[in-house]
């Protein structure tokens, strides 16, 4: 799970405040205002189908993304490819574990 911080407008504080954003894979899973603690998250019922749709899009768009990276920097792409391939199972296992833990 990755975490980002950004200034967004909080409905409770009625001004720009720092929010902590939690992602499950590529999906935004939860957001919390660091000032008032207002917390929003996707329900488990919505998160799993959304994750499946997103996963499908990731798989479908992967060849195109790989081709673009290979075209932009062929040597760098080849150098990083073995590590990137080996990292995928670990990455997905981590994502599945996070989804099921909620």
């Amino acid at each position: 799970m990755s975490v980002e911080q950004a200034s967004l407008r909080c409905e409770s504080c009625e001004e720009l405040t720092v929010h902590e954003l939690h992602y499950a894979g590529r999906l935004l899973d939860a957001v919390r205002c660091t000032r008032c603690g207002r917390h929003l998250e996707l329900s488990q019922r919505a998160l799993l189908p959304a994750y499946v749709v997103d996963l499908e899009q990731r798989v479908v768009s992967k060849p195109g993304r790989m081709l673009r990276r290979a075209g932009a920097d062929p040597l760098g792409f080849l150098r990083q490819l073995p590590r990137a391939v080996l990292r995928q199972p670990v990455k997905f296992l981590g994502e599945f574990r996070e989804l099921l833990r909620r």
């Binding site: 990755s2 980002e4 911080q5 950004a6 200034s7 967004l8 407008r9 909080c10 409905e11 720009l16 720092v18 929010h19 954003l21 992602y23 590529r26 999906l27 935004l28 939860a30 957001v31 205002c33 207002r38 917390h39 929003l40 998250e41 996707l42 329900s43 019922r45 919505a46 998160l47 959304a50 749709v53 997103d54 899009q57 990731r58 768009s61 673009r68 990276r69 932009a72």
Partner: protein, 263 residues
């Protein structure tokens, strides 16, 4: 009238206070890309878009360059540092475009807020065409059911919310900003500067209800769901079914629970 050649200016410098560890909202992840590269993608699906300028905050340069390298294909994007205001950022972008505008290589300039990732290709096409025909173009959405609070006067019968992308004929726009710079005038938006320094009519085109501006945290959830609902593809040159978007908004937020307090 031949097809215009357009340049797109993406305003990505952001707003508000931000300390070093916070991410500019236009650089947040959204369905596998950064927020700002979605709109760049839809704009560049238009054959008439020949140049792209992204206006950034200097502190974001490395992140923007990395995201552009990863997520935006050729042709090359010009990155310029913005000013203290929206007007100043637009002026910086126009100066970067000035040689092409003066040489007649850019006919229309499209200004877009990079925090609106769901502005589709059809919307870019409609503002470019309308600006070329009339002089300027703004996408608007009718705001119904407004009422006055306290003792305020009632709003007019017809009220609209203005969106971006907004497009203008390039040469008058550059001239307007040059004159504004000489006068020290700072407009609240592009149209206000055009209205002050030119007599070109600004034409309203139908906006898109999906074209949300990332402002509240809910907007990020909404944008993610609307993208998924559109099959991650807003490159169609026809606009959406106007009735579909409000329903999408309702269904997209149906599963969002404050405080994690859901059944």
């Amino acid at each position: 009238m031949s097809a215009p050649r357009a340049a797109v200016v993406m305003l990505a410098a952001g707003e508000g206070r931000r300390s070093g560890y916070q991410t500019n909202k236009v650089l947040l992840p959204l369905a596998g890309r950064r927020v700002f590269t979605w709109a760049v993608r839809w704009a560049r699906e238009l054959a008439s878009v020949e140049r792209t300028v992204i206006v950034i905050r200097e502190a974001d340069r490395d992140d923007v360059v990395a995201a552009v390298g990863r997520e935006v294909g050729p042709p090359e994007v010009t990155i310029v540092t913005g000013g203290d205001s929206r007007h100043a950022s637009e002026w910086e972008a126009l100066q970067a475009l000035a040689p092409d505008i003066e040489a007649g290589r850019v006919d229309v300039v499209v200004i877009h807020d990079a925090a609106r990732p769901l502005a589709g290709t059809a919307l870019f096409a409609s503002v470019v065409d309308a600006a070329w025909e009339h002089g300027g173009a703004l996408p608007v959405r009718e705001q119904a059911h407004l009422t006055a609070l306290d003792s305020g006067s009632e709003p007019p019968d017809r009220v609209v919310a203005v969106q971006t992308p907004q497009a203008f004929r390039a040469a008058p726009l550059l001239e307007a900003y040059r004159r504004a710079h000489r006068d020290g005038f700072v407009g609240t938006d592009t149209a206000s500067c055009m209205e002050r320094y030119t007599d070109l009519p600004v034409h309203c085109v139908e906006g898109d209800a999906r074209n949300v501006k990332i402002t509240f945290p809910e907007d990020l959830f909404l944008a993610e769901r609307l993208l998924a609902k559109a099959g991650y593809d807003l490159s169609g040159t026809h606009g959406p079914d106007p009735a579909a978007a409000p329903a999408s908004r309702r269904s997209a937020l149906r599963h969002l629970w404050p405080g994690g307090d859901h059944p």
